[in-house]
Every structure is written in C-alpha cells, then in structure tokens.
C-alpha cells in the first residue's frame, strides 16, 4: 500500500505535529518504505492467535509460596500468589508545588494555557 501526502498530513494532524512542506515529502517516502516492510506481517496466519496485549512474565514464573519481596522501604513482606492489591487508603501526596514549579506557565493551583472557551 502506498502512503500518500494526504495520509501524512492526516496522521500529523492526529498527532498534533506541524510539518514543514519539505518534511511532508521526506516522511511520506520513509513511512512508505517502513510500512511496506511491516507488510510482511500479513504473510502469517494469525486467525487462531490471541493478541498479546499485556506483558505478564509472572504468568510462567517459577512459583514460590509465599513469595517475598523487598519493598521500597526495605521491609520484607510476604506477597500472595495472585497480583497484589494494596489497601485502599489515602496517602499524602503533596507534590503540587514541585510539579507546578516545572510548568512553563502556572498560576497556583493551575496550569495556565491559551483560552479554550469562548464567551
């Protein structure tokens, strides 16, 4: 399948990228070459194959009961065989000042951006 100029412009718009005119043609050629190469995936019959949507190496990990892990605080805690769910408790997270300090334009407690609502 051939990638057109319009395809590149459509994708750039979806990705919020502004491209210079000379970039459009360069990317068109390169994306076309890469996607042609990726086309080899069509050679395989995948009709009975489940997609691998999650990376879960624990699924075939050697099981140890109880599994133990060193937490970030250095404490050794027993971990259950099933994915661990922590208690649903509120923990303090007072990083707002530090986060806002990195913002290009902040008016505490907000990030300031160009006007998006017309009155």
């Amino acid at each position: 399948m051939k990638i057109s100029r319009e395809d590149v412009l459509r994708v750039a718009q979806l990705a919020h990228l502004e491209l210079a005119p000379e970039e459009v043609e360069a990317y068109r050629g390169q994306l076309d070459e890469i996607l042609s190469y990726i086309g080899k995936l069509q050679e395989l019959d995948v009709s009975n194959v489940e997609p691998m949507a999650l990376m879960d190496p624990m699924a075939d990990a050697p099981h140890q009961a109880p599994r133990r892990s060193a937490g970030l605080d250095g404490a050794i805690a027993a971990a259950p065989a099933e994915p661990e769910l922590r208690d649903d408790v509120v923990a303090p997270c007072s990083v707002a000042d530090a986060v806002l300090a990195e913002a290009p334009d902040a008016a505490k407690p907000f990030f300031r951006v160009p006007k998006v609502i017309e009155r």
Binding site: A15, E23, L31, M52, M55, L72, A79, A98, E102, V113
Partner: protein, 481 residues
C-alpha cells in the same frame, strides 16, 4: 586509555575498607577523567558533583565509623538521561525537555543510592531512547571510545561509552528493543536487560511501556550481578513490577555450568550476519561446550517477523506516551494563539526527526481503518514470538545468539535510511517482545579491533542462570575490558 587496572565494585569496596582511598577521592578521580575524555566522547550531558560529593562524604563517614558498607558504597555510577533524578536536569536527549528537572528520583536511583552508589551524572542517549546509534540525540552523538569514528550503539550509547572509557564503574541504561545490549556489544562491555517487571520502571520516562526496562552496564559480570540485586524487586509505585524474591545474583553466578543446555537458534545465524561476528559467537558457544554445556540446535521460526512487530508496537505505545509533551505541564512551550496551535508548535520545535517519524508511524498504526491490519496483527505476532521462546525454554536453559549483526558502524553511515538503522536491532527485539531477560557479553574483537557481543537469553526471571553462564564464559575466555 590508561594502563592502570580498572576499578570494580569489589576493588572500590576493598580500597575503602583498607583506607587506600576515600569515596570523595574516587569521585574526584572520576570527575577528572570525565573532564579529560568527555569533550571528545560526549558521553555525559550533565554532571552532578554536589550530589556526588555529598553522597561520597556520607560513605566516608560510614567508613570512619567502622559501620558496614552498602554493596555499592562509593562506586561511581552514570545514569542514562531518561531516568529521573531529583534536582538533576533530565532531558531524554530531547530539546522538548531541555530545561526539565524532575521533582523526584526513580526507584532504581533511590535503591542505588541507598546501597551507597555515587551518582556522577546523566548520560547522552538517542532522543527518548529512540535509536540504535545515539545519533538521534538533540545534543550531538556519542563517539565510541574504542574507535572514535564509530557509533557507540544506541540508544544507551552514553552509558555504554562511559563504562567502556572508564568514566564510571557501572551505569544504568534502558532497553526497549536492544538499547542496553546493542551498545554493550559495540563498546565491548557487559550489558544486561532484565526480565520485564524485574526492575521498577517508576521514574523511567516512558517510551514503550510494555517493553521498557532498566538494566546495568558494568566492568565485569560480577558487578552487573551486584547492581541487579540492588535495583531489582517489587515497587508499590510500579504495578507491573514483580513480587518475586530477588536472588543474591553475585553468589549464584559462581556455580558450575556443566550440564546446562544452551540453545543455538539457526534463525539468528543466517543471511545478514557479519562473518567475523558469526565466527566469534560460534567460538563462544564452543567455549561454553568445553565447560560442559550441551549445545541444542533450535528453530525460532518467527524471528524474521520481530522487527516489523516491534516497530508497530513500540511506535504505537510511543505515540500515546509522548502525547504528554504538549507545552502545558513541563518542558518546552512555544506560544500559540490557540491551545491547538500551542500544542503543534511546541511539538514541532521540541521533537527531532526520528521521534516525529515514530509518533507518526504509531499514530498511523492505531488510526481508524488500520488498527486491525497493523496494531492488532502485531500483537498477535508478538504472541507467536513469545511462544517461540516458551517452547525453546522447554528444551534449553539459555539461548545464545549474536547481540547485533555487525560491529559498530561509522558515524553517519545509516542516518539517511531509518529502516536500515532499525535492522541493527534484529537479534535483540525478539527478547524485548517476549519479555525475557538477555545479556550481551564481550566475546572478542574483529580484525579491525572492534568489540563483538554474544547475547544470552534466559527464561522469565532467569537472570541468575544467564549471569552464571556469562560469568563462566568471561572467566574461561579471559574477556575483560
């Protein structure tokens, strides 16, 4: 390079205990080396002497008090610039984060420092870890310390070069498709990608979240094993980190390897593999056989589809992860009259060509009408590649392949052709997709004197096994940097 023996984790530890040096003197010694070599290598983007000397003084105080030292006490460490360091500028090799200073430390950083490591600075890398040569950094390429006209590999080129040039004893890199192992091979240093979930990704600035991993470069295998024991383990801040006990790897790796079955997949030794690389890796397998390992021929039939699969999945995830760089919360902002214009101008100015290319590729693969043909299909082929590994590990204890098809190429040699650059990862992306651990170990040099790497894959959470093979190989072959 100087003729003095290289520092290792063990020799630093002994020297501190024997009071032959102090952590502060050691940091000074390494900073002097960095000052001398970095102008030509461009391995470091940022140094943090205040942080390093404060940590060194803490270590020296512990020595003075005669208290037990941490496992990495006083060891100078370099950190790839995609890993967050509180108060130390972290750019990801990108203009879009040129002035970004993280408000917190990555878990791996916190664990290194708790073990006494001295963080010297941040290393250069391909922008957002996207590249195989380090030429995609917005701050200029790194040069390979073994041959200055050659690339160090990528994307963790600065970390590999730092260890190879003796500018740090160990370094952290990240590996999404080969970004630790391939530069390790090109620069001739041991380089390890752990199992997905073995090391917390908290504080690692995301490229492709189902593939990204943090791992060490080291002066020798024992040091790599020690670093692994320090940084691995569950972290409540990363729900994908595994709740499995962390072995004392350095103690595991001295076990004999006789009787281990090593798989040699024919699919990794075919067309496109440089003859010298092939010879050295085959000689490496023969060496392991001489130690009592049993060679098992393997077929991993979906290997040839790995690059295509990888460049759909990794770019799709990247297009989503990099949506956060929009000029609102951190990093560069280019003003616009509307919010949308601000987004577009910021991203146009802030991202380099390879990052834009991958964002577009990923956006295309996820876009309406193409999702099934590209993204969904790639996820299915990923299952087939993972199955190749699972079936192989029913027959063998480890899989041995070349790390990369060639030795380090020349700067500028592949920049004009993105697809050709992608093919430098042909032997590493498979393990990335399957989530298994892999290590690149030096296995000799080409006639031109360029390092060659041999890759050892293990089964999920089989780090101890591959480190054990790597250690036996290093010892028997006399491969040290």
């Amino acid at each position: 390079m100087s003729g003095a023996p290289r520092w290792t984790v063990a020799s630093v530890h002994e020297a501190l205990l024997a009071k032959k040096t102090s952590a502060r003197e050691l940091a000074q010694e390494f900073y002097a080396q960095i000052e001398q070599r970095n102008p030509e290598l461009n391995a470091f983007l940022e140094l943090c002497p205040d942080r390093a000397y404060a940590q060194a003084d803490r270590v020296d105080a512990i020595v003075a008090q005669g208290k037990p030292l941490g496992r990495l006490a006083g060891v100078p460490v370099a950190i790839k610039d995609v890993i967050s360091t509180e108060g130390v500028r972290t750019t990801c090799g990108s203009k879009i984060l040129e002035d970004y200073t993280p408000p917190y430390d990555a878990t791996a950083i916190e664990r290194l420092e708790r073990a006494g490591a001295v963080i010297m600075g941040k290393t250069n890398c391909d922008e957002f870890a996207m590249g195989s040569s380090n030429e995609n950094s917005a701050y200029g390429p790194v040069r390979n310390p073994i041959a200055l006209d050659r690339v160090p590999g990528g994307s963790s080129g600065g970390s590999a070069a730092a260890v190879a040039a003796g500018l740090s004893v160990v370094a952290l890199g990240t590996d999404t498709g080969g970004s630790i192992r391939q530069p390790g091979a090109y620069c001739g240093v041991p380089a390890m990608m752990p199992t997905y979930g073995r090391v917390s990704r908290y504080g690692l600035i995301a490229f492709a979240s189902s593939l990204d991993r943090i791992g060490p470069f080291a002066t020798n295998i024992t040091d790599a094993a020690t670093v692994m024991s320090v940084i691995a383990g569950h972290d409540s801040n990363d729900s994908t980190s595994a709740s499995l006990a962390v072995p004392e790897y350095a103690a595991e790796i001295e076990k004999p390897v006789a009787g281990l079955r090593i798989g040699m997949p024919e699919d990794y030794f075919g067309a496109g593999l440089d003859a010298e690389v092939k010879d050295k890796v085959q000689a490496g397998i023969t060496l392991l056989e001489s130690l009592g390992c049993k060679r098992v021929p393997l077929k991993m039939p979906h290997t040839d589809y790995a690059i295509a699969t990888y460049y759909v999945i990794a770019t799709a995830e990247a297009s989503s992860n990099l949506a956060r760089y929009d000029g609102v919360r951190y990093g560069l902002r280019v003003q616009g009259n509307t919010l949308m214009e601000m987004y577009r101008k910021t991203r146009e100015r802030g991202f380099g060509p390879e990052v834009k290319r991958r964002i577009m590729l990923g956006t295309y693969a996820l876009s309406s009408g193409y999702y099934d043909a590209y993204y969904l299909r790639a996820q299915k082929v990923r299952s087939l590649i993972a199955r190749d590994f699972a079936e192989a590990f029913e027959k063998v204890d480890a899989i041995i392949t070349p790390t990369a098809p060639t030795t380090a190429f020349k700067l500028g040699e592949k920049t004009a052709d993105p697809l050709e650059m992608y093919l430098a990862d042909i032997y590493t992306v498979t393990g990335s997709l399957a989530g298994v651990p892999g290590i690149s170990v030096p296995c000799g040099k080409s006639a031109a004197g360029l390092p060659i790497g041999m890759q050892i894959f293990g089964s999920h959470f089989g780090e101890a096994r591959i480190l054990q093979l790597a250690r036996a190989f290093e010892k028997a072959g006399g491969f040290s940097i």
